[in-house]
Each structure stands twice: as C-alpha cells, then as structure tokens.
C-alpha cells in the first residue's frame, strides 16, 4: 500500500461514521462460529468478553444499541435451564463425584420409563454448564451484532434481486412495534369502558381491535407503497428472471449445508467447504442475473472501505483460528469432563479470539447524533 493509501485508510478509521452493517454481522458470525467449535469455558468467556468490549467501545446511541445486556441475560437463562434439565433428567454417566443425591422417581412404562432425580455428579453438572455456556456465547455474539448494526440497514444492502423482499422485510420490522403500541392503547380504552383488561377473555377483546386495525393499516400502507412506485417493473429479460429464482434457491440450500457442516464439525471435512463454495457461487450467479437491468438506484448506499474489510477480516480470523485449532486436535479445545480437569488456554485459539478485539480500534467511532452545529 502506498503512503497515500495508508493515510486515507487511517483517516477512514478515525472519521466517525456508521460501519457497514454487513461488516459487523460477518465479524459477529465469525465469533459465533468460533464459539461453536469449543467447550472450553475459558475460551468461551474470552469470546463473550471480546464481544462485550467491542460493543461497549463502538455502539451507537440508537434504541437497539442497548440490547446487548438483554442477550447476556438470555444467555444466563439458557445456562440455568440447561443445568436444571441435567439435574432433573440425570444422564447415564456412571462414575464421578456425587455432589448431591435427589430422591429418585421412575415414571411408569407409558411415560417411557423416564428416570427423574437420582445422584447428581459434578461431572454431569460441569458438562451441562459447558454446553449452556457455549449456547450463551453464541447468543452473545448475535446480540453484539444486533447492538452494533441496524438490522434494517443490513436488509437494505441486500443484492438487487432480493431488494424488493428486503424492503418488504424492513417495512414489516418498522410495522411490528406499532402492534405493541396499539395493544397498549386498546387496553387503556378497555379501562375507559369500566373493565379490567386482564384474563383470557380480555385477550380476545384486545386482540380483535388490534388485528382489525393493523389489517386496515396494512392496506393503507400497501396503497401508499404502490403510489410511491414500489415494485415498478424492471426491464429484466424474462429468461434471466426465470433462471435467477431456482439458482438463488439452490445456492441458499448449498450455503445452509455448508454452514451446518462448518458449525457441526462432525461431518466429513470436504462437505462443508464444497457446499459453501458451490452454494455461494450459484446464489451469486442467480442474484446477478436477477438484478441485471433493474432501474432501481440506492440513496446513500453504505460504503465498504478499509475498516469494513478489517472488521470482517477479524471475524474470519477468529473463526479460522478455532477451526484450525480444532482440526489439529489441540489440547483444551474440547474438554473431557471425566476426569474433571482445570481447563487451560490453547495458544492458537486465544490469539485468534484476541484478534476479534481489533474492531474496538479499527472500526470508526460512532457518529454522535447532533443536529446542524451552531
């Protein structure tokens, strides 16, 4: 890179603006993929900490920016539920240190003879905890993306062929909160008629006006969108339009298979990359064909510049580090619980996780919302 280019990149990083939503989501998905590849609690905690630090450093002041804590709490709930289930339905681990012995109850034959209670071992508890923590970490990564990037902007930057569907989704997302608002209003109105808006019967009485109202409004919305040119016929060649649909669909299936393979880790090693590669290629071809000749333009599309590459890249790095470490069979990636051992930090994965911390400095700071400076 030339000196000039470097200067420009640095300026790009320093100048406050909103980072492309896609970059944040790639970064978060990288973190999530990494979390799915390990049960080491130290690594998982490290991943959560990394996500939390970046969120704290780079989130904006939008309503959704405060949602990260909700996802963390949801994670705690998942851990609790996972461990409760483990306690109730003791699994078949034979040996181990018994922590507590619950009264045992075997359900009758017709209930499949499930055994409830019984001895609780430290090993089973630990296993359940690791499992829950992994889910919580994945959830935290999604929460981080949600707090850092506006999901609507992500939908608005989908490729041309999907643009119509994307806009429809965005509108639906804007529409949904109004339902809650409406329900509140109708419930208050119930009080005005001297009723308590509680109980089963009240639900129907609140739901009907809300649904009728929203139906009316969605018709209005459809009329408004139509009059503003939504869905104007683009001059796409019919053959292109016909072939793009199946291509995209097949591509998406391929991508799903590939992603599943990547996350699962137990499928044959060739399936994941191949599925992902073929799927992506087919989907991209379909999208390009479908979007060709469309007359639409974008108002202020989000740019994709150096910081976006760096942030997305750091996500790829962390995912790759965990996948490679797992493939190499490095100690500490998947902990055995029998016997219980103190986990340690595998070097490669730790370095990879720390790489995901980079966006805290490499992403441009959030633009403080301010009206015209006086």
């Amino acid at each position: 890179m030339s000196r000039d280019g470097l200067h420009r990149a640095l300026a790009d990083i320093r100048l406050p603006r909103a980072l492309h939503a896609g970059a944040w989501w790639l970064w978060a998905l990288g973190l999530a993929a990494a979390a799915s590849r390990t049960t080491n609690p130290l690594l998982l905690a490290l991943l959560i900490a990394v996500a939390a630090y970046v969120v704290a450093a780079r989130r904006g002041d939008e309503p959704w920016s405060r949602s990260f804590a909700v996802f963390l709490k949801l994670g705690l709930l998942i851990i609790a539920v996972r461990m409760t289930i483990q306690v109730l339905f003791t699994s078949a681990y034979g040996g181990g240190t018994v922590v507590v012995r619950l009264p045992e109850l075997t359900l009758p034959e017709w209930a499949a003879g499930v055994k409830l209670g019984g001895p609780i071992t430290a090993e089973t508890l630990t296993l359940a905890f690791y499992d829950g923590l992994r889910l919580a970490a994945i959830l935290a990564c999604i929460g981080a993306a949600n707090a850092l990037a506006d999901a609507r902007r992500l939908l608005r930057s989908v490729p041309g062929a999907l643009y119509e569907a994307g806009v429809a989704l965005v509108v639906a997302m804007t529409f949904a909160p109004r339902l809650i608002e409406d329900a509140g209003r109708v419930r208050r109105a119930h009080r005005l008629r001297g009723r308590h808006a509680r109980g089963i019967r009240a639900i129907g009485r609140v739901a009907m006006p809300v649904l009728q109202g929203s139906l009316e409004r969605s018709l209005d919305l459809a009329a408004a969108m139509d009059s503003r040119g939504f869905g104007r016929a683009a001059a796409v060649h019919p053959r292109c339009r016909r072939s793009s649909g199946p291509l995209v669909l097949a591509g998406l299936v391929g991508v799903c298979v590939g992603l599943y393979g990547l996350l699962d880790g137990s499928t044959a090693t060739a399936v994941a990359p191949a599925g992902l590669g073929i799927g992506l290629a087919s989907a991209v071809t379909g999208l390009v064909l479908g979007g060709r000749g469309a007359q639409r333009t974008r108002y202020r599309p989000d740019p994709w510049r150096t910081p976006e590459w760096l942030v997305a890249g750091s996500g790829v790095v962390v995912a790759a580090a965990f996948v490679v470490a797992g493939a190499l069979g490095q100690a500490g990636m998947n902990l055995m619980v029998v016997p219980l051992i103190m986990p340690d930090l595998p070097l490669l994965a730790t370095v990879g996780a720390l790489a995901a911390l980079a966006p805290a400095w490499l992403a441009p700071p959030h633009r403080v919302r301010q009206e015209v400076p006086s």
Partner: protein, 604 residues
C-alpha cells in the same frame, strides 16, 4: 394536467355509483380544492387520479382518466408514480422507513434516479419544507406537523407534475397547518406543481385555491372559481358565511379581503352593540351553576316556549343561554365565595405527569363545574391528551391530586371510575370491539349495569338511523364518534372528556356534535374537549384553557382568551377585531335587524 372524461365509479356492494359522469379538467399549475360532505366521494375522486381506483380498491370505472396523457386504466399506481405524488389521509400509515432522509428518498429509489440527483433533491426538499434539523430523526419521534411535511416531501421529491393530498391539515394544530399550507403554496408558485387537495377545514385552505370542485353528494361534480362555488356551496367556512350574510361582493375568501370589506359592518356593530356580544358585567359576577338538570334552558326572557325542541340554527337563543351560563370561575375561588351544593365535576391541583424521562404536565390546576364546556387548546404534544388521560385515570400522576366528582380516577376500580368520568379517545374505534352496533350497545349496557337498550336509545338520539347490524368500523366518522359517545354516556358520567372530536367531521356533523354537547352541558354534565378546531371552540366552549409545554398558560372565558390570539382566534374574531365577536351565529341577529348590506336571498 388531469382530465376526467365521463368518469363513473361504482363499488361492487354499493347501490349507487360513488361518482357519476364526472367531466373535469384540472389545468397545469392549479391548486384545486375538492369539497363536499363526508361520504360524497372526495377520496374516491382523488384516488382516481393516481390509479388507486380501480387498481387497488376494486370496483368498476367507467369513462377514462387521463393524467399527463396516460390512461389510468392501463397504468397502475406504481407506473404513475413519476407523474403523481399521493399523500393519504393518515401519513403515518404510509411510512416505510425509519429515518426522515430514507423516507424521502424511497420513491426516487424506485424511479431509478441517479444517486447524485437523489442527494441533491433530498437536500432541496429538506430546505423547501423546513425539515433540515430533523433529517436524521426517527420517524416515530416527529410531531404531527413534521410528519405531514415529511409525507408531502416524500410525495413531491421526485418532482411529479401533480400532487394529490387527502385532508393534509385535519389532524394538525393551527400553526402546523399553516406550515403545511405555506409549503404547498410554495410548491404551486415556485415549481408550478398542480395540486389537488381534499379538506374539511375549508377555513384553512379555500383562500389559497384557484379552483374549487364541489361534490354535492349525488355523484356529480361542479367546479368553478372559489368565489363562485362558495356563494352556493353547502359547506362553507365562517368567512364565507359572514360574507354571504353581509352581502359582500365579490365574496371575500381570506381574512384580509374580508377585513377590508368589513369596515362598514364593524362601524354598524359598534353603533348597535357597543359592548360586543358578551357584556363585561357578566364576566365580573361570580358564576352561577345552572339548575341541575334543567329541561332545556333557564328561561330568561327567551322567546322560545319552554320545553320546545332546540332549533337547528341556534342563533340568538344559545347566545343568551351562554351569557346566563357560568363562565369560568377562577380556579378554586368559587367555592370560597359562595357555598355550592354540587361538588366540582373535576378538581385538579398541582398535577404532574411524566412518561419515562419526558415531563408531560407539571403544576396544572383546574376546576370545572357543572354545565361548563371547557376547551383545552395548545400545539400538538403540549400535554392536552395527557391532561385528559390523567382525568380519566389512565395514568398515575407523579404528584398532585385529581378528583372527579370526589373520586380519584386512577385509584378507583374502573367500574366506578366510568360513573364519574367518561373519555372518548382520539380514535373512537379503540373503544369499540364488537362485530355489530347492536352487540356493542348491549355490551355497554352490561358493563355499566344500565338497563338493557339504554345505550341503543342514546345512540338513536345522537345519530338517528344507524343500522343495528353494521360493523362499527364500517360507520362514517361521525356515526362512529356518536357510537363511542353513546357507549361512554350510558354510564351517565358527570364529566365527559373528548380528545380531538372533530377530526374527520364535516361541518354538519360538527354542528350536530356541538348541539349534543350543549344539551349535555345544559343537563348538568361538564364537558372538557381537547381540540385544534378554533371555530368549534368559538361556537361551543364557555371557557378556554391553553396548555403549552405541560403548563396551563391561559385560562378564561372563550372571548377573553381567543380574541387577539393569532393562532386561536376564529375567523369572525379576526375579521371583526377589536370587537369580541366569535361566530357568525352571534353576528347574524345584528345584521338581520338593520344592516344595510343584508340580503336575505343570499344567505341560506
């Protein structure tokens, strides 16, 4: 350029066509106003222009509509989006984006304008409509006027030759309406846009229009210059009514023209009634609550026989009634001065209400006695609705006390609150959830323990001729309001609260509402209404409370508060200032008695 060529529109389930053989040409750069009562087909006419009728609404279209040479039968609304911008009745329902800028750019994206042009147009539109400082705001945080301006901006940003607006100022406070109309005026004069606009509030728009299209209700359409149409139109703003009454020619449409024509009338009024309509002595004496519940009116030299039905045009009679009616009592003062057998209908002191970190009301004190009709005015978001919801017990006050007929409306059980206070919310549909009018009425009887059929009877009195089997959502705005009113009134609450009752009502429906409220007040109910409608306030309210920024800034007799206020004064007051006349009805007897210009043939 819009051409209607023998257009008829008929919806499948309707007996008669909504529009019949309409021939109409709207020329380049005209501001064309569509007037008519509710349900005469104004919206249908507007929706024909951009093809929503018949492509979106269904129904059958006879004849043809040509818009800039395109036939709407073959062009869908989206294909006309580059020549027609459309703003529907509720702009909120049509919003698609989260931020102002994106909302503005939406239609340009679909028209495929180059990015450079889009950037420039957005900036120009932000300036043209005065939206630059809210460009990054979320749509949900905008005020009503801003919202309407964004909707207009979004419709005109792609520079369509034609702009169609359905009631753009109905929901707005007077100031916001002025802003919107100023913006439209600018579009017409600076950019030569053709504007087609339907509006109930003629007093706001008729002066700006180049042509008025009148729908009398039988599906036909007449059109002409505003002065021509207004001379005979069934719906007319006060300035026109006064002009017709005084025989001014040419008929003035704006305050300015009317004031210039009104010099002789003002002098005549000074001679005939030097004190103005409301004698000053009346305001000085402590107010007397009316006999509870009087059959109609305390007879004080009334020329109508007692007990007769109130006349439809309540001219001098209600005026006299108003004079005898208690004005406002200075808050709290009344009960100190003279013992009052009745508790005040509502007593508020030091009230503060907050939602999250927003303080909606603080330090509000208000006493309302029986028989008073109090109008709460103020700009959108000033705290009018908060005051009403606090009175109805829907929000818990942060501090202060609220008592309605001695009951704390928030703490009391809903069933007992409704017997003390009834609120008709801004959207009366919220109150209604049954499938038929009959079921709704039966439910209301059951809820309040009234005798079966009581609500139905009330409804019949408020709006005769409503079919039992109609779905409440299929009623007209006026009928729906009447139904909600009946549902609330069946509990016989001594205090009745109405939030923006005249939104979407035409002049006759408004008159009917005013009559009903006057009867209720005469019956000993107290009425508080939050409204932007200065003409209604002038005609109806005995007292006006102005709220700004969560505080009461003025509280007094209607004439004292509204005369001289640039935003709250009704048209008649502006024309006849400095004399405190408020309504045409008040001036009518003075003119009919002896004014030389009076022409009985000219006024209906």
């Amino acid at each position: 350029m819009i051409i209607f060529d023998a257009v008829s529109v008929r919806f499948d389930d309707a007996a008669a066509p909504v529009l019949r053989d309409v021939d109409l040409t709207v020329g380049e750069g005209e501001l064309c106003l569509v007037v008519g009562r509710t349900g005469t087909g104004k919206s249908t006419l507007l929706r024909c222009v951009n093809g929503l009728v018949p492509h979106f609404t269904g129904g059958s279209l006879g004849g043809r509509v040509l818009v800039e040479g395109r036939d709407t039968r073959r062009h869908r609304p989206r294909d006309l989006a580059d020549v027609v911008g459309f703003v529907g009745q509720d702009p909120r329902a049509g919003f698609v984006a989260e931020r102002v800028e994106d909302e503005l750019a939406f239609s340009m994206e679909w028209l495929g304008l180059p990015p450079g042009v889009m950037r420039r147009r957005v900036e120009e539109t932000l300036d043209l409509l005065g939206l630059a400082d809210v460009r990054r705001r979320a749509m949900s945080t905008l005020s009503g006027g801003q919202r309407q301006r964004v909707a207009i901006g979004a419709a005109m940003i792609a520079h369509p030759r034609i702009l169609v607006l359905d009631e753009p100022t109905s929901a707005l406070d007077p100031q916001a309406a002025e802003d919107v109309l100023a913006a439209l005026h600018r579009l017409v004069h600076d950019l030569g846009t053709t504007v087609l606009l339907a509006e109930h509030r003629l007093e706001r728009v008729v002066q700006y229009s180049d042509r008025v299209v009148h729908l009398p209700g039988d599906g036909t359409v007449t059109s002409g210059t505003p002065a021509e149409v207004m001379r005979t139109a069934l719906v007319a703003p006060p300035v026109v009514e006064l002009g017709r009454l005084a025989g001014w020619s040419p008929l003035p449409l704006s305050i300015r023209d009317a004031r210039r024509a009104a010099t002789p009338l003002r002098e005549h009024l000074v001679r005939e009634a030097p004190q103005g309509p409301a004698p000053a002595a009346d305001r000085a004496t402590p107010s007397v609550p009316p006999p509870v519940p009087p059959p109609h009116v305390p007879s004080n030299g009334d020329d109508h026989p007692a007990g007769s039905a109130p006349p439809r045009r309540v001219g001098p009679r209600w005026l006299r009634r108003l004079r005898s009616r208690p004005g406002r009592a200075p808050a709290g003062g009344r009960h100190g001065e003279r013992p009052d057998p009745a508790l005040p209908r509502c007593h508020v002191s030091g009230l503060a209400v907050r939602y999250g970190s927003t303080v909606a009301l603080h330090g509000v004190s208000l006493d309302v006695g029986a028989g008073e009709i109090v109008a709460v005015m103020g700009r959108n978001g000033a705290g009018k609705s908060s005051l009403l919801t606090a009175l109805a017990g829907l929000v818990e006050p942060v501090s202060g006390t609220v008592r309605v007929s001695g009951v704390d409306p928030h703490a009391a059980a809903p069933a007992s609150t409704v017997r003390a206070v009834g609120l008709v919310p801004q959207d009366p549909t919220d109150l209604l959830y049954a499938d038929t009018v009959a079921a709704e009425c039966a439910d209301a009887d059951a809820d309040t323990g009234a005798s079966p059929g009581a609500c139905r009877e009330l409804l019949h009195r408020l709006a005769p001729g409503v079919d039992d089997e109609t779905h409440p959502r299929d009623l007209s705005e006026g009928q729906r309001l009447a139904l909600a009113l009946a549902v609330v009134l069946v509990a016989r609450p001594p205090l009745l609260l109405l939030d923006e009752p005249t939104r979407g009502l035409d002049y006759p429906a408004k008159e009917r509402l005013a009559e009903i409220l006057r009867e209720l007040a005469a019956d000993g109910h107290a009425v508080i209404l939050a409204t932007h409608d200065v003409e209604l306030v002038a005609e109806l309210a005995t007292r006006v409370v102005v709220v700004a920024d969560g505080e009461v800034v003025a509280d007094g007799a209607t004439a004292d508060v509204v005369v001289g206020s640039p935003t709250f004064a009704p048209q008649v007051a502006k024309i006849l200032a400095p004399q405190p006349w408020l309504t045409v009805a008040a001036v009518r007897p003075m003119i009919m008695n002896s004014f030389p210009g009076y022409n009985p043939e000219r006024c209906s």
